[in-house]
Amino acid sequence: MIIHPVPRWIHAKLTIPQSGKNIRIDPSLFANTEPWPWNIKWLSLVGNPASAGGDYTGNGGVGRRLNFEVGITGASDINLVPTVGTAFFASNKLVAGGHNNINQGIRHKFDRPPILPRDAGLIVDYQNLGADTFGYPAIIAYCQGVDSGKPVILAGRGPASVAYNTSSTIDSADLMNKGREAVYVKEIVLDPESYEDDNGGTLGGVPATTDVILDQIHWRVNPSVGVQWMPRPNPIPAGNVAPYNRVYGDFFDTGPRVYEFPRGTYLYPRQRLGIRVSEVSGAAQTIHLCLYGEVEAS
């Protein structure tokens, strides 16, 4: 049996009420609805603290204010010790900070690269839920020919700058695999064109808009054929899609954080991830959670 790993992102936007209330995430949300096992890799958290008061900027921000419990059905619904978000989402990997004048994108590398057949392509949607207008979002996908091993680049750029609350589709001939063979998609780079500092800011200064973009520019990337990568209709915040990217000064407030599941953690068909979140400080919080893994299609 040949396994074709397919990346799968599932995103949930949650509003956690004030202190003393728990949120149980909809049981169907992080369920494996495919007929194949889903090798889950990580759970990412992005949040923008509702209040700028207090000392959240240097002390854990939204993560510090939340308690998390996570478990897989079949073992016990909630089987991990409740842990404050700052500890739970402490990344196991050293994440380099990006900060320069190059308007850089954020990247996601695939552990086991999915295959894009010839004459297939990527379909990319984006949405701006932030207050600022941004540039022309672009995607670059670094690929490699399955048979020849030769490099291939797929790319596309949005048709217009993105005003608040608008969305669009990137429709580009460059996003099609026009070659004579299938390609492995090794890595995608999502560039909202204002991710870094240089959105009108001064070079060398602390980025003013950086954090916001990770939380408010949303993306959806799917292949034009086959099993979908992001099957739900809503695009996913950039920071949730590719959480192993940070910028100088983002701390924990809107900068993405990741809980990495132990290697070999699976959600089998009809199993689900149970999550309970509780707020430990005063104000209600809106957060974005995203579960990522590889569906082992066969």
């Binding site: 990006g98 190059i102 308007n103 994108g105 020849s148 091993g149 560039d191």
Partner: protein, 266 residues
């Protein structure tokens, strides 16, 4: 165990000026090293002093055309971050043999005088134990002064070849809060065959980057290509870059730096 290939690190740099609203093209041809030698393209850095957000680009390989039909922002290609320290990890380990010695020539460009040093991190081939080749000045070097490091601690030990995996210079450039790295000293590294790693054909130098600086730790985020994405050039092939300057008022000085390894039969 006899190896089939050795992997010689190289750094190639080209600079070009593009007029306002203009187009520019540069091909990095690996002159003189085409005969039967494949090149692994490790990463690429595109630097423009102030207007990089106005530069669009596409990448190609001679004989295969460009990878995309359209041009995309330089930043859209960037998939790596600047390293915290001034270290270059090679695409493939570079083997040197007993008695061979590395040489480094450098200027101290920092504002204050300091002791300067370099390190090559490697593994002994016989027992896979780690080994460092290193050297440092014994006294503080004044800013702008050239010095050479080629002491016995930069020499391969007599009893085994070693594989080098990375090169580090002690110049402190890791401040992530700076949009552009502080100016570092110029560094030249010579292998045992006296071949300098850094190859630059043009004498045009865009300010403020030094002509021989900023290749160990790129000044802006690099574009990682590498063997894992298939970026191995066959003999005779060159990597090509096509640029477009969006800015209608200003010309641009662009500096393209390609790092990688020559696959050399041994």
């Amino acid at each position: 165990m006899t190896k089939e290939f050795n992997y010689l690190p190289f750094v190639k740099r080209e600079v070009l000026n593009i007029a306002a609203s203009g187009r520019g093209f540069v091909s990095i041809p690996f002159m003189g090293r085409n005969e039967g030698i494949r090149k692994i393209i490790g990463d690429v850095t595109v630097y423009e002093t102030t207007k990089v957000e106005n530069i669009n680009m596409r990448i190609g390989i001679t004989g295969r055309g460009y990878m995309t039909e359209d041009f995309y922002k330089v930043g859209s290609y960037c998939n790596a971050h600047r390293p915290f320290v001034q270290t270059w990890k090679f695409s493939k380990p570079y083997e040197i043999r007993p008695g061979q010695r590395m040489t480094v020539r450098q200027t101290a460009r920092a504002s204050t005088a300091a002791v300067k040093g370099v390190t090559f991190s490697g593994l002994r081939v016989d027992n896979q134990q780690p080994i460092l080749l290193y050297d440092a000045t014994t006294e503080a070097i004044a800013s702008g002064t050239f010095f050479v490091l080629n002491g016995s601690t930069l020499q391969c030990p007599h009893d085994t070849p070693i594989e080098l995996y990375s090169f580090t210079s002690s110049e402190n450039v890791g401040d992530q809060s700076k949009a552009i790295r502080p100016t570092v000293g110029e560094i030249q590294v010579y292998g045992p065959d006296d071949r300098e790693w850094f190859e630059m054909t043009s004498q045009v130098v865009p300010a403020p980057a030094g002509s021989l600086a900023h290749w160990v730790a790129p000044i802006v985020s690099p574009i990682e290509l590498g063997e894992e994405r298939g970026w191995i050039l066959d003999p005779g092939q060159a990597i090509t870059f096509d640029f477009e300057n969006d800015d209608t008022a200003h010309d641009s000085n662009i500096e393209v730096t390609v790092r990688g390894s020559y696959e050399v039969p041994v």
